[in-house]
Symmetry: C2
Subunit: 394 residues, 2 copies
């Protein structure tokens, strides 16, 4: 009954669980406790803005996963998860932000009741929403269990997308095109930044035809001028000005799937050094896309881009991208592989990355990026169709 | 120089730091490491969507606080913090989501360089963004220091708001009135929920006159019918239907300050039990507001509300509210006191709460709430001016 609303077929969830269990077996785990909201949703369909309280999914080597969280959210779990409600457990409200009790005491009780009190249990040690305190309470409440680090174990299983997931990302990409076009169209001197962001939100949430817009895991980033030399500043009520570049880091979202896209607009006449950097960046992106093919590695994309920039006299280091797909705030990155020089992940068909070769210089920022799909053969496919260039409005 | 953009005066930040240091002294701390983005912003002004990587603020008993985070975000810290840039430190990008290095190794180096390698250091053990792994790495990298739990130490200092903070919350309340009125006006059978949410976002971000809208820490919650029996489900593309109640849990946001507000609308003719519950809820809210006065305690508000409901034959338990103010996703609650029967916090002038006496029943939900300010004398002031009732559109 709950399955009618689930975004994916039962076969798709079965596939995900089988993949995860294979990784659990390799890691020697009897049980996995998943707190990452994206991992929870990927395994069970759970979808709600409740990740500000302790909650998670238990997955053993047999049977359906168990969703566990605050009682009031167990109702929402019953309406969004594909499991039967006897696999959904809520804890009492007096555990919430209490100085006397901790929700992990309740979780430990469930784990014991399920027969895992002496088990090897994987936990996502380095994840938002799995606090140091949560871990300490769980460890002390399960003295006979062995808790081991399973950070990103599920994230790595998400790296290669199914056809249905790619379908969702393609829908998100339609919305990304719309939000980017809206931002580029409406940007002009005198427009308050918050009014521009309001248009971006409106375009993204209305969506495209029957592709309704979900909330992206990161709010629109739209900094101008010196603020664009920083990576993650949000907007204020200041009007846009002539003589400044503004970058737009945006994503459409369809049922929690993303397709991030960045473009930069200059109001007025851009300085020559920025036009030069644009050429270098575009040439670097083309080289990166050529390298983004099955059999190559993530580092090949980064190195292809960085080498072109070097040829143009621009020093660029750091990450140039990350896998994307299903996500909840605060990040739309999947946190497994990285597109960077030290990363050796082999590219395989069905992987989707935000290729993010942005440049943050001393007095301006230039973000031009693509969401890319690794194909069976040939270079990567860019999923959004928006002109790749520095936009200029004189 | 960076101070020109800071939301508050230097005197206001000095007051906050003095308060925090007094609490540190009571707790026996030499140094405090603050990861909660709201606590970081409250102490330093730092404002950026970068809390998806490890970052934080170090505060000792002397001198200015130190902001520490990813190098690319240290540029944004330089543009938003009031401290001089020699108090802002960035770590290299190869620490980001690396399987070989952890950013806390870099933080430990700074802590040692500042002379705190044998200090008693408070950390926010039970906070989003302070992961179990972060704590483990910090502990092992500072073998001679003593790390102790300082969860919510800063949150508690935020409980009584300054006049400037109350001014910000009043501005947020103007936006809350606008978003709620927009939602109530536009709701009607056939309207897709995502289109309604797009209007809500647009109203909230454009703001009111020169009160520009910031992003609220929780997205608009607008569930209908059976989805409204759950607390935290987000929207989809389904059209609104006659014969269903929809609750709106919304907040305007001005420079990260919130004023949450909930109202419920019924399209068609509400069932008698819902009208009865409305009367009980309104009477209970009035009783709660009467009890919400300086000298009383948080539990008095909860008990006043719960006792009225009991008189009407409705059993309600759990939290009925929490303090609000400055916040970042995933929560606009401050996570210190709670309005609930077991909470003994004394109410003092300048405290601001989201009084949240919502009812989630088997087949519908009824949310009618207020952001309230504890006054010097008399009952609490409600900061938003929207009719308090169940809205009905026949």
């Amino acid at each position: 009954m709950p399955q009618e609303n689930a975004p994916f077929s039962r076969a798709e969830y079965d596939r995900r669980i089988a993949k995860t269990r294979a990784a659990m077996q390799t890691a020697g785990l009897d049980l996995l406790f998943v707190t990452d909201p994206s991992n929870q949703a990927w395994l069970t369909g759970y979808d709600g803005w409740s990740f500000y309280v302790h909650q998670g999914v238990l997955l053993g080597m047999e049977g359906d996963p168990v969703w566990w969280g605050r009682h009031m959210d167990s109702i929402g779990a019953g309406r969004t998860c594909w499991m039967e409600t006897d696999h959904i457990h809520g804890y009492a409200d007096h555990f919430v932000q209490s100085t006397q009790r901790h929700p992990m005491q309740d979780l430990a009780r469930h784990i014991k009741a399920l027969g895992f009190d002496t088990a090897t249990i994987g936990v996502e040690l380095d994840n938002y929403y799995y606090s140091a305190k949560a871990h300490a309470v769980l460890v002390s409440s399960l003295p006979n269990a062995q808790l081991v680090d399973a950070t990103a174990l599920v994230n790595w299983q998400r790296l290669i997308k199914s056809e249905s997931e790619i379908g969702f990302i393609r829908k998100a990409a339609r919305i990304s095109e719309k939000v980017m076009t809206t931002a580029l169209d409406k940007a002009e001197p005198g427009v308050r930044k918050n009014d521009l962001v309001a248009e971006i939100f409106h375009a993204g949430i209305t969506g495209v035809d029957d592709i309704w817009g979900d909330y992206p895991a990161i709010v629109p980033l739209t900094p101008s001028g010196l603020d664009a030399t920083a990576a993650h500043l949000t907007w204020d009520g200041t009007p846009m000005r002539s003589g400044e570049a503004t970058f737009f880091e945006l994503s459409g979202c369809y049922r929690r799937y993303h397709a991030p896209l960045c473009r930069t607009i200059f109001l007025g006449t851009p300085p020559q050094e920025m036009l030069d950097a644009e050429q270098a960046q575009l040439e670097g992106i083309a080289a990166g896309l050529e390298a983004a093919r099955a059999g190559n590695r993530t580092c090949d994309i980064a190195n292809a881009f960085i080498n072109v920039l070097k040829k143009h006299g621009i020093h660029r280091e750091g990450r140039c991208g990350y896998p994307i797909g299903l996500s909840y705030p605060p990040d739309w990155g999947e946190r497994s592989a990285s597109i960077r020089s030290e990363d050796q992940t082999e590219l395989q068909p069905g992987m989707v990355f935000h290729f993010m070769p942005a440049l943050w210089m001393d007095t301006w920022g230039l973000e031009t990026t693509e969401t890319i799909l690794i194909n069976d053969s040939g270079p990567a496919e860019t999923l959004c169709d928006v002109d790749r260039k520095l936009f200029v409005k004189a």
